[in-house]
Symmetry: D2
Subunit: 390 residues, 4 copies
Amino acid sequence: MEMSPRSQAGKELCGAVRRLSPQLVNNAAENDRTGVFAAGSVKLLESNGVLASCAPVDQGGSGLDSLFDLTALSAYLAQSDPSLAVATYMHLALSWYFARTWSGLIGERRMIVCSAVAEPGVYPWELRTTAFRSADGWAINGRKVMASISPIATHFYTRLRVESDKGPIIGSVMIPRKTPSIEVIENWEGLGLRGSGSGEVIFRNCHVPWDAVRPRGTWGVRDEGSFEGRVAATAPLLGVSLGIAEAARMTALDYLIRQRADPHGPQTTSIGVGNLLAEIELRIAAARATLKIALTDFDEHLRDSAPRSLSATLGRTLMKECVSAGMIVERAAVEIVDMAMQICGGASFLWSHPLARLARDVKAISFMRPYVPANNWSEFLVKETLGEIT
Amino acid sequence: MEMSPRSQAGKELCGAVRRLSPQLVNNAAENDRTGVFAAGSVKLLESNGVLASCAPVDQGGSGLDSLFDLTALSAYLAQSDPSLAVATYMHLALSWYFARTWSGLIGERRMIVCSAVAEPGVYPWELRTTAFRSADGWAINGRKVMASISPIATHFYTRLRVESDKGPIIGSVMIPRKTPSIEVIENWEGLGLRGSGSGEVIFRNCHVPWDAVRPRGTWGVRDEGSFEGRVAATAPLLGVSLGIAEAARMTALDYLIRQRADPHGPQTTSIGVGNLLAEIELRIAAARATLKIALTDFDEHLRDSAPRSLSATLGRTLMKECVSAGMIVERAAVEIVDMAMQICGGASFLWSHPLARLARDVKAISFMRPYVPANNWSEFLVKETLGEIT
Amino acid sequence: MEMSPRSQAGKELCGAVRRLSPQLVNNAAENDRTGVFAAGSVKLLESNGVLASCAPVDQGGSGLDSLFDLTALSAYLAQSDPSLAVATYMHLALSWYFARTWSGLIGERRMIVCSAVAEPGVYPWELRTTAFRSADGWAINGRKVMASISPIATHFYTRLRVESDKGPIIGSVMIPRKTPSIEVIENWEGLGLRGSGSGEVIFRNCHVPWDAVRPRGTWGVRDEGSFEGRVAATAPLLGVSLGIAEAARMTALDYLIRQRADPHGPQTTSIGVGNLLAEIELRIAAARATLKIALTDFDEHLRDSAPRSLSATLGRTLMKECVSAGMIVERAAVEIVDMAMQICGGASFLWSHPLARLARDVKAISFMRPYVPANNWSEFLVKETLGEIT
Amino acid sequence: MEMSPRSQAGKELCGAVRRLSPQLVNNAAENDRTGVFAAGSVKLLESNGVLASCAPVDQGGSGLDSLFDLTALSAYLAQSDPSLAVATYMHLALSWYFARTWSGLIGERRMIVCSAVAEPGVYPWELRTTAFRSADGWAINGRKVMASISPIATHFYTRLRVESDKGPIIGSVMIPRKTPSIEVIENWEGLGLRGSGSGEVIFRNCHVPWDAVRPRGTWGVRDEGSFEGRVAATAPLLGVSLGIAEAARMTALDYLIRQRADPHGPQTTSIGVGNLLAEIELRIAAARATLKIALTDFDEHLRDSAPRSLSATLGRTLMKECVSAGMIVERAAVEIVDMAMQICGGASFLWSHPLARLARDVKAISFMRPYVPANNWSEFLVKETLGEIT
């Protein structure tokens, strides 16, 4: 009942990830120990065509056009290495969303996109990175954090404050790494996701041409019209939570099956262990189902529609489903990791145990979904719910 | 994002229930107050063709062949009246399962099936109602409880201990009400589901022909091979839990929307009320998704297959999904009713308030699903889960 | 580890309740069935001196001056009959609080106080019952609801809007039942607490002397200074929640012990039943401890202090503890009743089963504690918590 | 409402810890970063007399004889540094328990006891470390893990398999560090408690005199008679969980109070943040109360009784309370840390944030309490509960 890909392309990509899994798992442990970016694993994905999933077939990609399958792919990646899944999810989401525009590059496997949007303690609609007019284009200055995959990225997707004719607006821009004066600092020191390469990117008077910057709304005003893009960008992240939950569950099951022969080991017939396992099954079932239904709904409305073509109402409805599914899957993942540790006992508290890594990784997702970290997902749900029926 | 029917027949039937809803809701309140069977509502369903849902179109039915839609139908019924939904779910499930055999009668709207299987404190494989050989058939004796819809049933589906040539076996039989010596006692005094007509049925030397009794396994031995039928018989019951949850949610939402104008009323912007509403949304989302996915899976494997044709492994897998979904939806329903009451305040504690009825009705489902009341759903899940992967 | 009384008077009173328990339990079942006020049980308590608990010994009472023991007494009563505990808790709390003033009457067992304060959908500081000046005193008019024990009360404690010289204020008054033009309507139709006699009391131009009305703050303004009295008035109510939890737990334990011999019955060695029982133990332990600590703190500050002598800060601190303890004990009680029902199986869904009554009774307490039903206990806790440390 | 010490000695010791707190907190962060044992902090405690808490006053100690206060002391330590609290709790518990025997040494501040009992994957009654008879005493061989404070210990308290005349028994022994052939390996690599010095201790033919080894029951048989000592040894550990919860709560409160001025920061008036804070308050209240009541009960029965003098029944009752309180406090601590992280947002996911450390530390306690890691606390509670009432 796992979340399995439905398209042929999805099946092949997930199959590739599964085949690479032993290597990815090894790398994950090592990267976590040393706190070093998962460059080797990203290269593996690249050379196996996973990073080109969304590019058209005739351009060297796999033509994956289903968010469902893209999310399943993220879940498969996270089962092996959540750091890797986080490092690549935004590249995948952006390449899905902008497939028509940049797919050539992605398909030729020459493009690895890093989302360098976040700034510390700043709302997305009040970003402080600036684009000022220069002689023949824009000059970009600012500091971005949590820029996963940045050590190896070829392009930086960023959002910033554009000093336009009509005052400050939010703009988006894709900046090639070869642009002079970009500094990537590998200074990520997180509790988890230690292999995700989520350090800083600094732009110092980086120059981009006039048409590289696209308007995305008024600066300082929460953009309520961009739900569609945010849903697409968030969906694979929910797959990461599910993948972590799947990995934790499987670790506990493997342990119990190995323990069977040992009369002293924790037995599934004991009340404590048995109940933990039964509750894991309930949580994983609800998480899988919620994610499957949400992604089916997303595909139904987003798969074949032009970007930014959805009605505001439908955009909000999908966003509500995205926020709800995110909370449900994330809570399940946190609880499943915790219960798996209780099943596996004190050994799972050693740094080298897979669950000791998952317990740290799983906490990250709370801070990456929309409507966090300000914890206003409740407000959003309340508003949307009452809005729906009046 | 509600669980809506997918087939044309399902849409028409659910539409009919929605149209009848005001009348059904009124009846529900009155039946609950007086503790009287919902005969009027059952008649309404009968005359509107709802009880013939699963009969072929050419025999006067609606030809509903999807368990998904049948479960959605139960959920719609439960939104108006859980007693009515419980009274009819087994008739619907049995008519779905046996469509080919008895559909004619059902289609002609002359058959209302009551499941008179349960005996107090007795496992399904150790039933004490007996079938002994008589001169020209079987003589049936025993007492059945929790026989919902019995006051108005035309047929009683029952299971019993058959004294066969090879020793005691479990048998099933459909007994027409006109058979002499059947006594229906309207003595249902439950905490909830007070309109479900769940009293006793007593068979005193009831005679049925030889071929009426079908073998269903050895008496005294848990039948592990009948998962398929039990999944089908349970599915609509999960719809009842969901319908109760939907009704409770809608009651709270209606209340909040009405209260908006009153600055003294509970406001959705308050931490307490806002959080309750947000949590309701998460629970209903998980419950809906879990049920949709489970029913999609059931339909995939059961819709077009002959009865008893599934492999044991697939049967167990579906049963696991059924048990898991049952727990998830039921817990969500219990919590949603409780949170809705907190939102609506003290008024919801008055007997006449819809939530005061739902709070009682919702507790029943715990005792009707498979692997309860002995609370061995955990054991089942544990066994199946470890079995899956070894 | 139960919450047992500590003083000699408390021990004797709780002992008396325990001796009366078989009779009280019988009455509880009967009153719940018929929806009739627990007059017989109240009389039993009266004749055994329980209603005079807080009156001084030399005036015929027991001299109980500990809120801890008073709360334990309420818990003991609720173990036998939550309706009875609710009917009497406000009489007990008021007699504790006002011991010096009216203790004579209470001691002589001629006074049974009914708290007739609540009005439907009205905040306590905006009551609509009025006291207007008449020739030689006040004329009182208004309708009160949820007036537990009203059928048998000798006095009505009420709060109302007093048209004073300086504008409308909130006033309190104790009105003897013999006052002309008081109507007690036995129209309580609650989901639970059906024997609590919580119907309406109507005052129609009831006359009381000038000095009977005491000022309690400005009308329309939330009184933040009366925490002390509200803590005292709420404490025994928390005992009712605990008593319900104790009764539900004991019902489940009795059942399991009786079932032991039956290999088919639910076994405590099963994962499901075992886990339910273990979780019940954790919840009851936390509930008992929380209530014991809270009441120890209340006694420390309230037992020997004159009414209204506490500092506002201390009052708020005690109120925070009271609100927190209320939520903790109430949640535990709701969950324990639910888990006990799951242990006891379908039989507990019959109207006549003790748990079917407790499941209804336990829901009431949510609507009776301070800071409900507007669900603003969260706001209160947040405000107090941040206030504490700044 | 914190758990504050009650005795004068307890107040002074907790006061000392509070004064040292800024230094301890600094050390905690540094030790966690480097994964190095908290030697400096232990020295600070030693020189301030904290390690001699339980030694008599006339021998240079503080004469602390209350388990309540000892547990409060552990909670205070854990508020500053859970690693330090874990490193010292067993020294404190053992010195409390054996105060009469070794108190001289402890009082003179020359004794730091390390509990080197645990062996990987081995039940306490089946230990594999052996004591064989040699010419003039016992020769001890074996490997112990999770030996907190071992880098600096002067004595190792251990349990082992003694080859006695009557077959294998469990024995206990206190081994001075100066004994030849003890190797302490600083190889602790845990997810948390990284400063606790919980590496391995290896005994290679270590010699102790005949009378150093004390019999503690039959080898291979679960010792049901040693509840008293285990309760005493566990109590301070529950304080560690509480201290972690207190620290996490205070971190969230400090953050919110600092954020107040920032209209963009998370506000306590938002549903999400407000609800998290309110729920933290409920959990900390229940945890504090449960621990206070348990420790009050322990002191009542253990404080003035001779070692091993309690009845088996009372021992079991106290153990049940200890196991229950452990689960309640531990669950609360895990949840409070998680909620505090959600309040503090993404910054709390950085390795250097206090909550990122607490989130790891808090998981450890699950594996250190009695009846874990085999997760048989449920079985224990079930057995004791039914045993109580029959």
